[in-house]
């Protein structure tokens, strides 16, 4: 569509029609766009390049595991594609122009031997973080080969199979966290973004390709007004040398900022705020990380009602489980969970928010612990928190506790409510898988290769998957349950939640079912969000008081 806005027209519809596409990156100078495109009918993905000026479309590769365009040389003559098997298990290759490929790093899954171990590259693909260098000779990327929490690396395109470490000089932060993103700015300049226990730090760096060094030239995010929160966009405008930034904290909504080329201070462009609620009434939460059942440290935050609200005595507890499972609950006002957490604290609840094993943000070893162990040791992290950690906090009343989660968090809610019914007085499942066999059959075709590896193959691993399904013990659920679902959800389809609701109602169990006709795997539209929060808060108020 034109810069001034209007009705968007389909872009090369013969390429995208009937497929599901993602805009991975655009080279502004060359007007070249890279897409990942998924088939709707078959488990196959395509890496696609579109010359936006000429309209020329090129399929770069295809694979059940991605063929994600990961990096390209400045003249676009060479493109690096990536296949992802499970989190961190990523291989890189280059199309050879004849329908084959030249491996650049890693062993393709079809060439692996059963008994052998293969090092995980840990290359992230969810945000573009691999970039062809200015010389056209190599790729600078993020890898877990040198640090479990991620570090920059360098792949010389003429020396496949070897990734060299790249050092970073001049970081200002400390603590535990992950290298999250490497973003190309211009020429040899890159933004390096860290996630330190949920909070964003971003640096402007210059890459010395010969010495394999990223030298920090400026802290962009992590200090001053842009501290203690989450980045929701960092864009560098080459023409003006300025940055545009979106940022929020647990208690401050997203704001837009401009960073001048030599400016010391972020210039705020929005004044978004919560209307009618003094900032002192919101809860910023506190770190309550704990040692779990096997000694593993689990990061967690506890949000308590502000003292200004005047609540007295131990507070009834809402236990919030994030989705993913390989994601992270962060001090992030932007999305669904934080407004819910804040309204619950305003209503007098304590809200406990753990990042159990399998969460992202704490290194590859930590995040991999949920692969092929859905509802296993991570479930016991939650049980440990409820039985050994929270009972020792006299500000919290664990005898009046409810659990809520979305997606995988909804799955975990069902697992906890059915396998540990003594812990809960109420549970809210938002579009969580109920039966992992039917869930595996109902997900989009392009997801099936990944889930067969990360969760389990619904045929070969059937017994295991059945054992880990909430359905297997659902008759043991004893607390009232609220199920929330989007009618258009293609990930956990409405039938999955309907099976749960009809099954429980058939057993005479107490189940409320709330379906949003115009939502998918989230609740985004304002009237729906208001209704959704009202139902959740009302449900917990009714059953936990």
């Amino acid at each position: 569509m034109p810069l001034e806005g209007g009705f968007p027209e389909p872009l090369v519809p013969e390429t995208f029609q009937g497929r599901r596409s993602h805009l991975l990156d655009v080279d502004l100078e060359a007007a070249m766009a890279y897409f990942s495109v998924e088939s709707r009918e078959d488990p196959i993905r395509f890496g696609v390049r579109v010359d936006l000026e000429s309209g020329t479309v090129e399929t770069l590769g295809q694979s059940p595991y991605g063929a994600y365009p990961a990096a390209w040389s400045p003249d676009h003559s060479r493109v690096v594609l990536a296949d992802l098997y499970t989190r961190g298990d990523v291989v890189l290759y280059e199309p050879d122009g004849e329908g084959g490929r030249r491996m650049l790093f890693g062993t393709p899954i079809e060439e692996r031997e059963q008994s052998a171990e293969y090092p995980l590259s840990g290359i992230p693909l969810d945000v573009p973080s691999s970039h062809g260098t200015r010389s056209g000779k190599g790729v600078v990327l993020i890898t877990s080969l040198f640090a479990d929490t991620g570090a920059p690396g360098y792949l010389d395109l003429e020396r496949p199979g070897e990734i060299e470490p790249v050092s970073v000089d001049g970081l200002a932060h400390d603590g535990a966290g992950e290298l999250e993103r490497l973003q190309h700015l211009e020429d040899d300049r890159y933004a390096v973004v860290y996630n330190m226990d949920g909070c964003s730090w971003a640096y402007e760096t210059r890459f010395d390709e010969a010495s394999r060094l990223l030298k920090v030239e400026r802290v962009l995010v992590g200090e001053g007004e842009l501290a203690g929160g989450v980045l929701h966009g960092l864009h560098f405008d080459e023409a003006s040398g300025r940055y545009a930034v979106a940022f929020c904290t647990a208690t401050d909504p997203t704001q837009l900022y401009l960073l001048e080329p030599d400016g010391k201070r972020a210039a705020r462009r929005t004044r978004e705020r919560v209307l009618g609620l003094a900032p002192g009434l919101l809860s910023s939460g506190e770190d309550v990380s704990f040692e779990s059942h096997d000694g593993l440290r689990v990061s967690a935050r506890l949000y308590l009602p502000s003292p200004e609200l005047g609540y007295e005595g131990a507070r009834p507890l809402v236990y919030y489980v994030h989705g993913g499972p390989q994601s992270q609950e962060r001090p992030d006002f932007a999305w669904f969970s934080m407004p819910l957490i804040q309204i619950l604290t305003l209503e007098g609840f304590a809200v406990f928010v753990p990042n159990a094993r399998g969460s992202s943000g704490y290194g590859l070893d930590y995040v991999k612990r949920v692969d092929r162990d859905w509802g296993g040791l991570d479930r016991l992290d939650h049980v440990h928190a409820m039985t050994e950690v929270l009972p020792k906090d006299e500000r919290v009343d664990v005898s009046h506790a409810g659990v809520v989660g979305r997606s995988y968090g909804g799955y975990m809610t069902l697992m906890l409510a059915s396998r540990h019914p003594e812990l809960w007085r109420a549970a809210v499942d938002m579009f969580g898988p109920y039966d992992l066999i039917t869930f595996s059959e109902r997900i989009p075709e392009t997801w099936k290769p990944y889930f067969a590896l990360a969760l389990g193959d619904p045929e070969r691993d059937r017994d295991f998957i059945v054992e880990r399904s909430p359905r297997t013990a659902i008759t043991d659920i004893s607390c009232p349950l609220l199920v929330i679902q989007g009618q258009n959800d293609p990930r956990v389809v409405e039938q999955e939640s309907r099976d749960l609701v009809e099954g429980l109602r058939g057993l005479g169990k107490d189940v409320d079912y709330l379906v949003f006709e115009d939502e998918g795997h989230d609740v985004l539209k304002l009237p729906n969000r208001v209704r959704c929060y009202e139902r959740i808060v009302g449900f917990f108020s009714e059953h936990l008081a």
């Binding site: 810069l3 027209e9 990156d25 997203t254 985004l524 304002l526």
Partner: protein, 116 residues
């Protein structure tokens, strides 16, 4: 204030929810030709807006019935501004169904616009 949850009036709860949701989202800004493009929920769902970089009233760029993809659920970008072509590539959603089959920009060929 009240000492227990049950003392809280339902009306106050509703007001608090609407107060919290009164804060709109401002996400994924891009700066081009002294204009700030961004994703926002100003109209109640995620859409694309622009304003002068110095500040000003946000201008909607998409018709009200069109929503962008959910940034929590997709890889990559929701939009990309191409000043030299005078175009924006946007990724469109339809009530959360994730059928992103029509990235919008322009049909066929684009031509580079003269830059000021």
């Amino acid at each position: 204030m009240a000492g227990t949850v049950v003392d809280t009036a339902a009306g106050l709860t509703a007001k608090r929810i609407e107060s919290l949701l009164s804060a709109r989202l401002f996400l994924e800004p891009q700066l081009a030709d002294d204009r700030l493009y961004f994703v926002s929920s100003l109209s109640g769902h995620l859409s694309l807006y622009a304003m002068d970089a110095a500040g000003g009233v946000p201008e909607p760029l998409l018709p009200p019935q069109i929503a962008l993809q959910n940034p929590k659920l997709v890889d990559g970008h929701l939009f990309h501004v191409l000043p030299a072509l005078g175009r924006i590539v946007v990724m469109i959603d339809r009530d959360g169904d994730e059928n992103y089959d029509q990235p919008g920009a322009a049909r066929g060929r684009l031509s580079r616009a003269a830059r000021p």
